[in-house]
């Protein structure tokens, strides 16, 4: 069992001032002071890989810089356990998965093991996603505030799995969802907090053309043809095969190239299999580039997004889809499916183009590749939209507000 207390960060809070303004940081400091020394304990299933780890990696040090003692622990589980939680993940996204009694039993068994081994010391415990949700059993002993932070799209879950999970979630003090459509009928308060990107991280900081070119060279890419890029884990829910299909349609009228770049996560045993399928499908097509980027290749991801003419995110299901905010922050035009939290980021025809089908994606891609001025305007709007709503400072503010609201049921809270 690991424990990490993050106080060091590559970014200092004051570094965000030129991006979000001084008053924004002043408000954060005021909110942090109001928490009066409470300890916040985050619990999830992995330190590396995936959106949750990435968010915590940036949030935890910044909360500490604000004076909020914030820590991060992970649960331990076997490979079989993570196979079960992956099935849960798919089922909560609405995919019909075969989940046996033994699977539920294994989930309960590993949860119990973690209940025995993990130390619960926070005044506010934030439990992320379904994997550690069962730890709520400890609430009776600790008596503190427990929050379940759901990062995934549970708008149309397989009822059997949701009912199982709901048994845990209903005991929390509050739940947090990324989009209104993810919320459920629950007897507890439900807050809406969108995730965020860190504009100063390796993945989002400004890059010069030399740095971008060196990454393109490293992966054998050329900037001669406009590049369509999808950055995501090799996961069926990200529909990489659908993206290739749309690309083939675009390719008939616009000479371009496609880059599918992503990695794998320790809690996703299925991704290797999907990667193989994608590679097989792309075989023989010199304009489709499948790039397996290892964890920590943030600079490479940044360069690929910046090199893109259009960024695409054709997810079938999506929790929030942080890669969209990453692309918008780089003022890139984006084509994405209207699922999960994506419509919060892409306001159709204002900050990007939404689609529902492969054909719709192909049509939108052609529109943007053929009209660069329109594409640029969407990108600029998108960047401002992210600055206003999806930067890590907004995320910090929402978390601090939520921590304060746990003790205040009223609509208007005077500090």
């Amino acid at each position: 069992m690991e424990n990490a207390v993050y106080t060091q960060s590559r970014s200092r809070l004051r570094d965000y001032e030129p991006i979000v303004g001084r008053s924004c940081l002043e408000e954060l400091r005021t909110l942090a002071e109001e928490l009066g020394g409470k300890v916040v304990q985050n619990i999830n299933s992995t330190f590396i890989g995936g959106g949750v780890a990435e968010i915590l990696e940036h949030m935890v040090p910044l909360l500490n810089q604000l004076g909020v003692d914030t820590r991060w622990d992970v649960i331990q589980g076997s490979e079989e356990f993570f196979e079960v939680t992956k099935k849960f993940h798919n089922a909560l996204h609405g995919k019909d998965e075969k989940i046996s009694k033994e699977d539920f039993a294994l989930f309960s068994e590993i949860t119990q093991k973690n209940l025995d081994e993990l130390r619960f010391y926070g005044d506010i415990l934030v439990v992320h996603d379904p994997q550690p949700a069962g730890l709520i059993a400890k609430k009776k002993e600790t008596g503190r505030k427990w929050v379940w932070r759901c990062h995934i799209d549970v708008s149309n879950p397989v009822r059997k799995v949701w009912e199982f999970l709901r048994g845990f979630v209903a005991d929390y003090d509050a739940a947090v969802f990324s989009a209104p459509s993810f919320s459920q009928q629950l007897p507890i308060r439900q807050f809406l907090i969108t995730p965020s990107i860190d504009p100063l991280s390796e993945k989002n900081k400004e890059l010069d053309s030399g740095a971008i070119d060196s990454v393109l060279t490293k992966y054998g890419l050329t900037s001669e043809k406009p590049m369509i890029v999808q950055i995501s884990r090799f996961d069926r829910l990200k529909d990489p095969l659908g993206v290739m299909e749309a690309f083939q349609m675009v390719k008939k009228s616009v000479d371009c190239q496609l880059v599918l770049a992503g990695g794998t996560a320790t809690d996703d045993p299925e991704s290797e299999e999907v990667l193989e399928e994608v590679r097989k499908q792309a075989e023989g097509n010199r304009d489709i580039h499948i790039l397996l980027v290892p964890p920590g290749s943030d600079l490479e991801i940044n360069a690929l997004q910046r090199a893109a003419a259009v960024v695409v995110q054709k997810s079938l299901r999506e929790g929030f889809g942080l890669t969209i905010s990453e692309a918008l922050w780089k003022a890139k035009p984006v084509v994405a499916t209207a699922v999960g939290g994506i419509p919060l980021q892409i306001i159709n025809r204002f900050t990007g183009l939404l689609c529902h089908t492969v054909e719709g994606a192909a049509y939108a891609l052609k529109q943007l590749l053929s009209n660069p001025e329109y594409a640029e305007q969407l990108g600029q709007n998108g960047k401002e939209h992210v600055r206003q709503n999806f930067l890590v400072t907004s995320h910090l503010r929402n978390y601090l507000l939520m921590f304060l609201a746990l003790d205040h049921p009223e609509d208007i809270i005077h500090l």
Binding site: E27, S155, L192, I193, V339, D411, I412
Partner: protein, 457 residues
């Protein structure tokens, strides 16, 4: 011994007499001269005259003692080498005494004049020290020259030292000189309100030999190096304007979104739920767009209008809802009644046949407002404008939208303060009649600033 004295009495007596005579002449001259000096000093034409009299009175007699000794030695029968040696000693003593007098005089004169210039007071010790060192070094060089010691290498060494010190302390020297310029120019005075190129504004607290201290409106002290201040564009507004009877404190307001779990698939469900939800839900759906999409012109309309148009595809009702003038309603209850009325009226003439696709329902969200104080407290319109430039759009929203509608004050906070505490009814009315829903937040900020600045001018 007695025999030697008997034979050489004249060679002793003459030098002694010369020495005593010179001393007596010195006493007489000092008395006469200092009577005249005292009269001159008492005349008060120059206040430094007292210092000259005070500093030179004692060494004046010593100089005649030295002169007497010099003359006595030269009329004595001492050998040329002894005479030359004593000459050198006497010259050295004279140079030392002159240097000492010059140091004391310079010190007293500097203290006298620096004491009169407030801006130079903090640097008094430094200036006196520089003068003391300079005069002592010059005296030492003259002394060495008188003794025939080579002074050129020492002068070169000193010059190199001064050059190095100048380079090392160039910023300090630049600030010092700029401080003198600021003091002389009198363009910036303590108590003035200034705004810097960076946008920072505040009152001049002090001008020291290194920097100018500006007290910001949030209470923080801004230190600007004098040299930088002289090189940049500074707007000096002069003295403060009319003070308000009560200061205005800026607050900020942050929103947290709470999902109610309630949703609507069609117009009937929408209007049915809208009647029951708390006012904080109505406020959210009629104001959320102002903040989330404040960079867009024109901004999207309220959430009800958007959903009806985009998801139900009913552009006629969408337009009716978008055109509801939120500014025309003093309370959330009145606004809700109007929205409900428009939908019900439409439903009475049109069947509710349209249903939103799965996943695109209208979700009712509650706005939780957390109101927090900022560091900004203003006492007049100048301070008000300066703070308005830097507060967050959250603070602006709170005082303009939330105070009027959600806190049910009927009018924005700025108008209330300007009328009640500054007695400026005209300006208060101009701000009160400004329809904030027609602007993006940044444009609203600029418009209010322009109105207030026009009044100040």
């Amino acid at each position: 011994m007695l025999d030697w004295l008997r034979e050489n009495w004249s060679s002793i007596l003459y030098p002694v007499l010369v020495f005593l005579a010179t001393y007596l002449v010195g006493l007489w001259i000092r008395r006469a001269a200092y009577r005249a000096f005292d009269r001159w000093a008492t005349g008060g034409r120059w206040e430094g005259s007292h210092l000259i009299v005070q500093v030179t009175r004692t060494p004046f007699l010593a100089w005649f003692v030295m002169l007497g000794a010099y003359l006595a030695i030269h009329v004595s029968a001492l050998g040329p080498s002894t005479t030359a040696l004593t000459d050198k000693v006497l010259v050295a003593l004279f140079i030392i005494s002159i240097t000492w007098v010059a140091v004391r005089l310079a010190e007293k004169l500097l203290r006298l004049y620096i004491g009169k210039v407030e801006r130079l007071r903090p640097s008094e010790a430094l200036i006196v020290m520089i003068a003391r060192i300079t005069i002592t070094v010059v005296g030492a060089l003259i002394l060495l020259d008188a003794w025939g010691a080579p002074t050129t290498p020492i002068i070169l060494l000193l010059a190199a030292g001064i050059l190095i010190a100048t380079l090392a302390f160039r910023d300090i020297l630049a600030n010092l000189l700029s401080g003198f310029q600021l003091a002389q120019g009198e363009q910036i005075k303590v108590g003035d309100f200034v705004r810097l190129e960076s946008g920072e504004g505040g009152y001049i607290d002090a001008v020291t030999w290194r920097n100018t201290q500006i007290r910001g409106l949030d209470g923080n002290l801004i230190l600007v190096p004098n040299s930088r201040l002289l090189q940049s564009t500074v707007i000096n507004y002069g003295r403060p304007l009319k003070k308000a009877s009560e200061p205005f404190r800026f607050y900020s307001r942050l929103h947290l979104k709470e999902v109610t779990g309630l949703k609507a698939r069609n117009l009937t469900e929408l209007v049915g739920t809208l009647k029951k939800v708390p006012g904080s839900v109505v406020y959210y759906h009629t104001h959320n767009f102002l903040e989330e999409h404040q960079y867009l012109t024109p901004e999207p309309a309220n959430d009800f209008a958007l959903w009806v148009s985009d998801e139900l595809g009913d552009e006629v009702l969408g337009e009716k809802l978008a055109s509801i003038d939120t500014f025309g309603f003093p309370t959330i209850a009145a606004l809700r009644a109007r929205i409900v009325g428009v939908i019900e009226d439409y439903l009475s003439k049109n069947p509710d046949g349209r249903t939103a696709p799965a996943g695109r329902e209208f979700h009712f969200i509650r706005s939780i407002s957390v109101i927090l104080p900022t560091a900004y407290v203003v006492h007049d319109l100048r301070e008000f404008v300066e703070v308005l430039r830097k507060i967050s759009i959250n603070s602006l929203s709170f005082h303009v939208f939330e105070a009027r509608l959600r806190l049910q004050k009927g009018v924005n906070d700025f108008s209330i303060w300007i009328e009640d505490c500054l007695g400026d009814r005209d300006l208060a009315d101009r701000l009160a009649y400004l329809d904030p829903y027609n602007y993006t937040l940044e444009n609203l900020r600029s418009t209010i600033i322009q109105l207030v600045e026009k009044r100040i001018k």
